[in-house]
Structure formats: structure tokens, C-alpha cells
Symmetry: C2
Subunit: 377 residues, 2 copies
């Protein structure tokens, strides 16, 4: 490029904007790779938090391989960008098959399933070209969302159906322990992770006894993978995603410190209220998302955390305006003049990142790049 | 075009997707134009709900003129697409001036302000070319967000400062009565709208007495403009926006009926829980937004309304999955087989539309077009 298409410093960016602290993101990525290596467990990082090529490279250690995605659009985006060994992490159904077939012909694609309908649809629509569909059974270990119950006959039956189809290759079992987000503190997370792993190993052994080969046992969420109990080393793969950025939610759970959070929203003060009671920033719900708002009363800084300004609370958002009060009473407008930039740690980085079509990457105050995520379905 | 780049029917669309019922949108647009004509008040429709050229044409009656926008990106988008007489509806500050200058040279651009800093910045950065900045004072009539208080000396002082600058043309006063959204029912909305109008007329008269010409008195929100009290005919311009789509929030407020809502999200059933307690749809918070979730307990159908399925409740969303229960107990999976399409009326259409980079426009079951909104800042 002859010239960079972004301003040289954060202070010159249009607000609101989404910032990625690249040194922090690199550290978060390398620590997770190291953690998995030490445990002897593979890492299949989730892309849903950022959906960019650049951060996927960091998460895979430059290997462009073994990832999990949340949409077929992401799967296609990463395949187009040279990534391989891609798991589509939502339950597969018949209407997904045409797009999956195209992907499976060119890439190592894995699918997640939790229904007889899915197996039947895959069986009746072979990939062709001598290939089999590679599938993992989604298992519910307590998250109460997708998946067959870990201790059910149904789980065994679903595995058997896949294993018996000549058009399907049954690879093993996967469970997202999203209920780890309901834990408070490291001890609770660790205890729940141990239970999750034991449930998965129970099912694996049951399948083996039934003569069903279960090569892969995958679990993962950022809280549990950051705090792995010993039994985690008996599993074969983890699939956390949020750790690349972390967020205020993870900090609140003691999974990380504020100084590890690799993303922020920059916003400017644009109005001082006549009463002195509040100021307005140019970040409303389109710049932050409403994630966290339902439990804001339980959160120490409300539904987002202003960096180094523990006295500030975002109390209301409309589309483009955030109303900010001071917990101590009147807002000190001299400290927060119109035009001042404030930095926000979002409650949920996946939700906030999704509001932006570009991320500004920085080292300290210097902007060093722009990442463009994929979007949509 | 040789061929259309979208499937012929709704049933073939990738889900989740955002649907616009074009006949309903046309009716919503024409009714508001008619209402304003009958009252003898100008309509300056807000673009923030949809951010498309096509719906802006409907809202302006094909005139491509007199609109309000929520971001400078929108202002630039509409200017590029031939629209004129554009009001940027957030308080202006010094850092906006370079982009506003470019717009003001080619278009009739109006700015909103509520600070001395803003007037000072505009005064010190003339548009040039013999033009003056066209400004409206933002007035707080009870919404407690932006603006000078309607009965304050500060409001008069801010108007005076603008009127006295040779680089600024003071046009009048604007107030967004967003607090109308806190009303319950038509009577409350009407009463509050009357109060708002009286406050604005009070300030207008005060400015006139001070020798400040106040040509324009603008107010508006969808609830108040749908239910205008008699005194509204004494105002000069309304600026509602949401009415083009309406939503479950407006229905809840009795501002519209479900049959007037012109937008929906289409989603498919993708999983049946092993326990029978829930099903999953492929619409999570990226397909719906979290808007409404904080008050879901107070809403008759939870934070979104499934069309013609009053028994269904979205009880939890993760990024790409919505967990749906039946108020009567177990979900009837035969009634909701995997693959079935369900239609959701969002709580807040502005927030939900913003999650999509394209809207599928339909007449009945036939898809008749794709609209591409602008996004970002």
C-alpha cells in the first residue's frame, strides 16, 4: 500500500470505534496455546468473538488449521482465506446441507449434530467424491441448550446411527460448558469443569463399550479452559474463543484482570447536561450492544466499565447516545470536557465486536492496522 | 439485471434474516405523510431505523428532501444518494466539523447543538463560500438526555450566541420527546405530547420576546406523532422514524397493531431438546439484539413476539442460538419440526434492523427485492 487508510493515532479516530490492543491479544493467544500444549490437549479455537483472519492466525499459532465457527458464513470466509479443518459449531439440519457440501469438497469440514433428522439428512445427501461427512455428537453436560443428554440412551443411539451410516464418519463428542458463565469465581469454574469432563469421559466409555469408536472428546469455554482441572488432560480438544479479547464479564468472574482485556470501545463526550447530573458520550447501543443490561444492577460498574474511571456509570443508552452519571453525584465537567475520549471495556466482547465492520489495531497510542471481520449468515 | 440475486420466496432464504413487508411499510409511510399534511406540519422523517435509500424515498414521498439522521455516515450516505436538507440529529462538537464542512458545501445541512463549545467551534470554523452554519438548539422537554432545559435562561443564552454569530444561522428549536416511550397507552402519550408542545411554544415565545427569530419548532417521536394532540398543529415540524416499521414495543404501547408491523426476523427450528422442554432456533442475539431483555418480565410475550405463536417464549439467547419454551409446558415438536420457519416481531426494530447488512423485501411470500442499509459512523 502506498499510504495507510487509517489515522496514525487513536486520538484521531472517528468515535465510537472498536480498538484491539494487539500486544495483549498476542499474549492471550500464546498463553492459551501454551496451556493446551502443557496439558497435552489440542486447541480448536473459536472464531466467533472476532471473525477476522488476523486474529485467527494468532489463535492457531499461524497454522490456519483446526478452528470452530458459529455460522456457515464464517466457515466459508475462513475456507476462502486458506483455513482448513473447520468445525461448524451449531446443530446441523437438512437446510444447511447444500452449503456444507460445497465446503466439504474442498476442506476438512466437521459438523455438529443432535438429532435423528440431521443424521438422516446427511445419510441421504452424501458429500460424494468418496468422502464421508465428518460429525461430532453435541452433548449437553448441563448447559441446557443444544445436545443429547450426557447420560442418556438417546446419546448412544444418536452416536450409533452416525457410526452405522456409510456416508458418515463419527468422530466423537463435543460439549460447550456455557454454564461455566453462571459460576462466580475460579473455584466454582474449576469444580464445574471437572464435572463436565467426567460426564464426557463417562459417555466416551459407554460408547466404546457399545463398540462405537469415539476418537475425540471436546469441551470448552474460556472460563474452564483458563482454569483447567487436572482431569482436563484426559480430554482431546478444547474450543474456547472469548479469551482472545476477554471482557468485563471475564474480569467479573476472576478469569482475567482488566489489564488482560484486549479490546475497548473509544467514545467521546459530546454533551454536558444542564442540570450537571450527566454527560453524553457518542456510544449508544449500536456501539456497545445491550449485552449485560439485564443484570446491570448486579455488576460493580454497571453494564460496561470505563477504563480508569471507576466513578462513571453508563445508566442508559439510546441508539447513538450513552448517558453517563457519576456515582458521587454531579459530574465534574472540567475533568470530562466535551471532546474528551473515554475508553470502555464491554461486558461481552463477542457482542460488542459484532457491532463493528472494522477493528482498529493499536500498540499503545499508535494505530497499526485495521482488521475487517466477516459478518452475517 | 439479467437475474435477481435473491431466492424467489421467503421459505428459501438463509436464516436468520430480516424481512420488510413492503406493502405495510408503504402504508405506514403514506399515513404519516397524510397525518402531517392534515395538521399543516412538515414531516422530517428519521432515517435511523432503516438507513436505506428505498425506505427514505417512501418516507419523503419521493422528494429526497428534509430528513434527519443519527450519524454523519448516514448524512454522507444520503447526500451521496442525492438527498438534501439533512439534519444531523446528535449534538454537534468540534471534532465533527471537518466532515460537516464537506457536507455543508454541497447540501443544505442542519446541525443540532446544546453547548457553548459547539457554537464557539462553529463560529471559529466558518463553512466558507459565503455560507452560514444552519443550526437548531436541542431542547430538553423532559426526556433528560441532550439539550438545554426548555424553561432555562441557558436555553435563551445558547440561542442568542448562535443568533449573534455572523457564521451561524439560528433556525429554531428541536426536541425529541423520547420520554413518550415511558408512557403506557394512547391517553398518556397524548397528554405528554401536549405538555411537550406547550413547553416548546413557551420557549419559542420567550426567544421571540428576546428578539431572536425562531422559525422552526420541531418535536417528535413515533408515539406522539401517531397520536398528535390538537396543539401539535401549532408546531412546524415532526421528526419521527420508527413508524416506517413499528415493532412489538409500539404494539405494546398501543401505538400500532401487530398487523401494522412491517418488519420481522425469519428463523428456523434447528434442535429439539432431549427433555422436551425447549427447542432451539437459529436466531440468537446477533439476529435479534438484546433490546428489550432488561424488561422481559414485564412484557406479555417476553422480549420478542413469535407471530401467530402466542405460546412460544424466547427465554435465552446466545450468539447464534435462541432457546424457546412453551408457556403451556412441553413443546409440541410435531407442531414445530426441525427446519420449520418461525417469524419474530422484534421488540425494537431500530436495534434489530441494525444487525443486518441486507433486508429482504417481500409481498406476501414472494421476495421482491433486497435493500442495503448504510452502517457505522
Amino acid at each position: 500500500m502506498m499510504s495507510q487508510d487509517y489515522p496514525p493515532t487513536i486520538a484521531e479516530l472517528t468515535t465510537p470505534c472498536f480498538l484491539v490492543d494487539i500486544l495483549r491479544a498476542k499474549l492471550n493467544a500464546s498463553r492459551m496455546l501454551e496451556r493446551c500444549e502443557n496439558l497435552g490437549v489440542q486447541l480448536r479455537p473459536h472464531m466467533k468473538t472476532h471473525k477476522t483472519v488476523e486474529l485467527a492466525l494468532l489463535q492457531t499459532g499461524g497454522n490456519k488449521s483446526r478452528i470452530v465457527v458459529s455460522t456457515l458464513k464464517e466457515a466459508e470466509f475462513y475456507a476462502t482465506n486458506g483455513f482448513d479443518d473447520i468445525l461448524y459449531g451449531c446443530p446441523i439440519t437438512a437446510h444447511h446441507i447444500p452449503r456444507c457440501t460445497k465446503l466439504a469438497v474442498s476442506r476438512q469440514l466437521h459438523l455438529l449434530y443432535d438429532s435423528h433428522e440431521a443424521i438422516s439428512a446427511l445419510h441421504n445427501s452424501p458429500v460424494g467424491d468418496g468422502r464421508a461427512w465428518s460429525v461430532f455428537l453435541a452433548v449437553d453436560t448441563g448447559n441446557d441448550r443444544e445436545g443429547a443428554l450426557w447420560n442418556s440412551d438417546e446419546a448412544v443411539q444418536l452416536a450409533k446411527e452416525a457410526a452405522e451410516s456409510e456416508h458418515i464418519s463419527f468422530q466423537g463428542i463435543y460439549s460447550h460448558d456455557g454454564h461455566s458463565y453462571r459460576c462466580r469465581g475460579v473455584d466454582e469454574v474449576k469444580k464445574l469443569a471437572e464435572e463436565t469432563a467426567n460426564k464426557m469421559l463417562f459417555l466416551k466409555n459407554r460408547l466404546l463399550k457399545e463398540g462405537i469408536d469415539c476418537v475425540t472428546t471436546g469441551v470448552g469455554s474460556t472460563p474452564s479452559c483458563i482454569n483447567p482441572p487436572d482431569v482436563f488432560s484426559s480430554l482431546s480438544v478444547f474450543h474456547p474463543g472469548n479469551y482472545i479479547f476477554f471482557d468485563y464479564n471475564q474480569q467479573f468472574m476472576q478469569v482475567c484482570g482488566f489489564e488482560e482485556i484486549a479490546c475497548r470501545v473509544a467514545t467521546r463526550v459530546i454533551s454536558h447536561s444542564a442540570t450537571g447530573d450527566h454527560l453524553l458520550v457518542d456510544c449508544g447501543f449500536l456501539g456497545l450492544s445491550h449485552d449485560g443490561i439485564a443484570i446491570q444492577q448486579q455488576l460493580p460498574y454497571g453494564f460496561c466499565a470505563f477504563q480508569d474511571q471507576p466513578n462513571l456509570r453508563m445508566v442508559r443508552m439510546t441508539q447513538e447516545l450513552g448517558k453517563v452519571e457519576d456515582v458521587n453525584g454531579k459530574v465534574d465537567f472540567e475533568k470530562y470536557p466535551i471532546g474528551k475520549i473515554l475508553y470502555i471495556y464491554p461486558w461481552h466482547s463477542c457482542a460488542t465486536a459484532a457491532m463493528y465492520s472494522e477493528y482498529f489495531v493499536h500498540e499503545g497510542d499508535a494505530v497499526v492496522g485495521v482488521y475487517k471481520p466477516t459478518r452475517g449468515w
